[in-house]
């Protein structure tokens, strides 16, 4: 594995600075009910319709751990190649806020459910390992809505108590690009596992970004600032860029960096101070006496391990070996679980005499282009993997040319039609009968005697003209390879 780091450096006069980034990712556990109550977790429900007495912290209400969420966290830990802790403890993180009904968030502080792990990033300069510090389970808070009324703030508790996994990385990231790759990799792994849908627009994945800078080559970390709650990769990258430059400017001016929490203003594209270290909350963590320590057995963990599907790194390795794909192609296909599924289904449906390279080109070419243009996910593709496989086979066995195939593909989009039928109904089958083609070409040569003579005299450019004529005469259906052969012979 190449350990080469990114060349992302910030330059000032004679100095070069390296950026050090660590991420605390909050991933919503994919679960129908909340971490400590049976309320639903559907996104976009009417405000305060998914709230139990526990979520609203009524007197005498007690939390009961949701076993499914525990399993999801452990599976994610396995996916991050991390140590699973058989004993973990839920703590209370105490602070007051209107959308925090209990006056504390149940989280895991000293003893998280998942310990150290790692993820591998594929960067243009090689593979890069990013350490995972820990993963812990915690409750989400509700939502304060400040803009519905000029006088009052409204509170929606639908999200209150929803299970989150906080995944804390080591300070191993060195550039906005690596952050981009890291978030995408985490999302990919969790989507493979079915433990988080990774939907950033719906807030299923958000991150606190810790940024510091140091002179290139320095071993010591600079003072870090934490940028709170950034909810898109683009904003994370923008925030890091702004924040790193701000810190470098301070150093260059001979000033010091204050350790503080900052907010990213997406409109002004800048970070600004939210609270300094001195004003930091004292959360008064202590073990939640309403919950016993969470203990899981070796057997429980083993059973979950058996339940883990093939993950992106393994799938990539297999695609390279089994299908002879390039690492680049394999990466594109495995990064999203639905793409990988689609690809594997196409491969399976193509049968014995398959051209995998051709299928890959068509998926990453025509299909992706179409989906992008319509803003669709591959899971929403109007062309099924089965019909897509048939189309590839039609090209492979010479029934249609690549050019005709594009026409067929466009016709397939409307109602997932069988390409075989389209070819038959529209008469798009390639003209591959040598006798018929010879007759057609004879006629063309006859009609263009002078040009044929010119060609023979050495004007080789005219070959293309004859090919064009043959295509035109056949309505584009002439087998290009065969046409070339016959033309060469006849001319």
């Amino acid at each position: 594995m190449s350990k080469k780091d990114s060349e992302y450096l910030i330059n000032r006069k004679d100095n070069q600075y390296e950026v050090v980034i660590g991420l605390e990712v909050h991933a919503q556990v994919l679960s129908e009910s909340k971490l400590f109550s049976t309320s639903a977790t559907k996104f976009g429900a009417e405000p305060n319709t998914q709230v139990s007495l526990v979520d609203a912290a009524f007197p005498g209400m007690l939390p009961i751990i949701n076993e499914f969420c525990v399993k999801q966290a452990i599976k994610t830990g396995i996916g991050l190649n991390a140590k699973i802790n058989k004993r973990s403890v839920f703590d209370r993180k105490n602070y007051f806020y209107a959308d925090l009904p209990q006056g504390y968030q149940i989280s895991q502080f000293k003893d998280p459910i998942v310990g150290e792990g790692k993820v591998i990033l594929d960067m243009p300069y090689g593979q890069k390992e990013v350490g995972i510090e820990r993963l812990h389970l915690e409750q989400d808070a509700g939502k304060s809505i400040h803009d519905l009324d000029p006088q009052n703030t409204f509170v929606d508790l639908n999200r209150s108590g929803v299970a989150l996994m906080e995944i804390v990385s080591k300070p191993d990231l060195r550039s906005p690009d690596e952050v981009n790759a890291y978030i995408k990799k985490l999302r990919s792994i969790m989507r493979y596992l079915g433990t988080c849908d990774g939907n950033m627009q719906e807030g299923s994945l958000r991150a606190d970004v810790n940024v510091s800078v140091r002179p290139k080559g320095s071993k010591e970390f600079g003072t870090r600032c934490e940028i709170k709650n950034v909810n898109s990769i683009k904003f994370m990258q923008m925030a890091i860029e702004y924040e790193a430059n701000r810190q470098v400017d301070l150093i260059e001016e001979g000033k010091t960096i204050d350790q503080e929490t900052r907010l990213f203003d997406t409109k002004k594209n800048e970070t600004r101070s939210m609270r300094s270290k001195e004003d930091a909350h004292d959360y008064r963590y202590f073990p939640d006496p309403d919950l016993l320590p969470l203990e899981v057995s070796e057997k429980f963990i083993e059973e979950l391990k058996n339940d883990i599907p093939e993950l992106p790194d393994d799938k990539k390795k297999r695609f390279i070996e089994e299908f002879k794909l390039s690492p680049y192609e394999a990466n594109i296909l495995v990064s999203d679980i639905d793409t990988a599924k689609y690809f594997e289904e196409v491969v399976a449906k193509m049968g014995k005499n398959k051209d995998i390279k051709l299928a890959v080109n068509w998926i990453t070419g025509e299909l992706f282009a179409f989906l992008n243009s319509k803003g669709l996910e591959i899971s929403q593709s109007p062309v099924s993997a089965k019909n897509f496989a048939i189309l590839i086979n039609l090209i492979k066995n010479g029934t249609i040319s690549g050019k005709i195939a594009k026409t067929v593909f466009e016709l397939m989009i409307d109602g997932d039609k069988d390409p075989q039928k389209i070819v038959e109904e529209k008469g798009l089958k390639q003209q591959s009968d040598p006798k018929a083609l010879e007759a057609l070409i004879d006629k063309i040569i006859n009609d263009n005697r002078e040009k044929a003579i010119e060609y023979k005299q050495g004007k080789e450019k005219l070959f293309g003209f004859f090919v064009g004529q043959a295509m035109k005469a056949s309505g584009g259906k002439a087998n290009p390879q065969l046409t070339n052969e016959i033309l060469k012979k006849k001319l």
Binding site: P59, G60, L62, I64, A98, P101, R284, F286
Partner: protein, 485 residues
């Protein structure tokens, strides 16, 4: 009429079952007496009208297979009761009406009992004299201006004054046993995890436990068997084999070994308490059991440990009373101002004191020195008991270091007030069951109690010992009805 209220729970159940009395007769009798008890200030909320309706309904279609057939009962106002105001003795919950029922009260109604009303208590169960309640102090039926103890002071006065046949309280550091001792009744704090905490307004989650309060041991056993149940809605509820405690009750304790811990002989303990304890030891021997001197070396650390652990948990548990969702809200300029005003006006002085102590001991830089250390000492205290139980079956101590005191006597001296719990607190810290039984009177004629501490889940054993001793002691409570209207 008043004869009915003099009867024990066991007698009332028998009378209803063999139709000598109807539920209406019984309910009416307790309501009549309760209505004349205003001076005691035991009730925060009464539900008399609906109680009578329920009694009539029961009589129309009686089910005598139930354990508490048509028995009226008032309960401490810390138990959430569906559609009945539940205040925890606090202004901050003065307008709070739960839409749900606590598991413990649900168990009681399921056995046929009928709610009479909600009984006064110290605010959020924080107090040893029932003087911290927003609804005013409770008087003991024993004497004028005498505290009934706390925090289940309303419950203790109501049982001693025969306003309810039995009741339930909660005990975090002695809140059942100390008032039981002060008012000459029986009170049991069960093993932690025996009774569900679901629907009980939380004070200190790792210590809180509901328990029965009654005029005698048999009634106490019967009510305990009704309220103790495994509850999946409480993660700390324990699924152990529960007995038919009242049926299996026996006064045969021959051969039992009872430990007498020397550390409970504290400095400045009145001679009459020491004498009472010696009498208790004699009763044990008279029953054919053996007493053995034991040591619980960490006893002196129990009270300071308790006053770190309990306020720490309370400071967090009470954070939810912020004026946002339910309960009292004061007007504020902004959110922080609203919080400050709501909590300053909504909580009384003792509750505020404990929230501040708790916040302090959990704060960064102090956590290790206070909270963490207290948790370690708590373990040592539990180990002391584990060691002792290798040699003995139960432990006998006084319930309190003194008899009941006058209202106002200790309100300005919290430490002296906290000392009331010196004998009861170790039991909560160790999660063990403890029962207080009336065992005598002091020179002023005020009741004094003895405490029997058992092994975890060994309630049957301490009930049996209490039952055997009760017979020997033959205690008569001196209720003068000075307060009757």
């Amino acid at each position: 009429m008043s004869d009915i209220t003099k009867k024990s729970l066991t007698e009332l159940v028998e009378n209803i079952k063999n139709k000598k009395l109807s539920s209406t007769d019984v309910t009416k009798a307790f309501i009549d007496r309760s209505e004349k008890s205003e001076k005691l200030n035991t009730y925060i909320t009464n539900d008399f009208t609906s109680a009578l309706d329920k009694a009539k309904k029961f009589d129309q279609k009686p089910n005598f297979n139930l354990k508490l057939p048509g028995i009226p009962m008032a309960v401490k106002d810390l138990f959430c009761t569906k559609n009945i105001k539940t205040t925890a003795g606090s202004k901050i919950l003065n307008n709070f009406v739960p839409t749900y029922e606590s598991t413990v009260t649900e168990n009681i109604w399921n056995e046929g009992a009928i709610l009479l009303g909600k009984l006064n208590c110290d605010e959020f169960a924080m107090g040893s004299s029932n003087e911290t309640s927003f609804f005013g102090n409770v008087q003991s039926p024993i004497d004028k201006n005498l505290v009934p103890g706390g925090s289940s002071g309303g419950s203790a006065s109501a049982v001693a004054g025969q306003l309810t046949p039995v009741t339930i309280g909660t005990d975090t550091g002695g809140s059942i046993r100390q008032p039981a001792s002060f008012t000459g009744i029986v009170g049991l704090k069960p093993t932690y995890g025996s009774c569900s905490r679901y629907g009980i307004v939380a004070f200190a989650s790792s210590l809180d436990q509901a328990g029965p309060m009654a005029q005698n041991v048999k009634d106490c056993a019967l009510l305990y068997e009704v309220i103790s149940s495994y509850d999946p809605k409480d993660s700390t509820s324990i699924d152990f084999k529960r007995n038919h405690y009242s049926k299996e009750l026996t006064n045969n304790i021959k051969g039992k070994k009872i430990g007498i811990p020397k550390e409970y002989r504290v400095d400045g303990m009145p001679k009459e308490i020491e004498d009472l304890w010696q009498k208790g030891i004699q009763y044990i021997k008279d029953c054919g059991a053996e007493t053995i001197d034991i040591s619980l070396p960490n006893t002196s650390y129990a009270l300071p440990t308790y006053y770190i652990v309990a306020p720490a948990e309370a400071s967090s548990n009470l954070a939810r009373y912020d004026g946002v969702k339910y309960g009292f809200r004061a007007k504020g300029e902004n959110l922080i101002d609203m919080y400050e005003k709501t909590r300053s006006e909504g909580f009384g002085a003792e509750v505020q004191r404990r929230i501040m102590i708790g916040t302090y001991v959990l704060s960064s830089g102090y956590y290790d020195a206070y909270y963490l250390k207290a948790q370690k000492v708590r373990k040592l205290i539990k180990n002391d008991f584990d060691e002792a139980y290798k040699k003995v079956d139960a432990i006998l101590t006084p319930s309190t270091p003194s008899s009941a005191f006058k209202i106002g006597e200790k309100t300005n001296d919290p430490v002296s007030m906290y000392l009331n719990d010196i004998f009861t607190v170790p039991v909560n810290l160790a999660g063990l069951p403890g029962i207080s039984i009336p065992a005598g009177h002091d020179s002023k004629g005020y009741p004094l109690g003895l405490q029997i501490i058992g092994k975890a889940f060994d309630e049957q054993n301490i009930l049996n010992i209490a039952y055997a001793m009760e017979e020997k002691i033959n205690f008569k409570n001196k209720i003068t009805d000075w307060w009757i209207k």
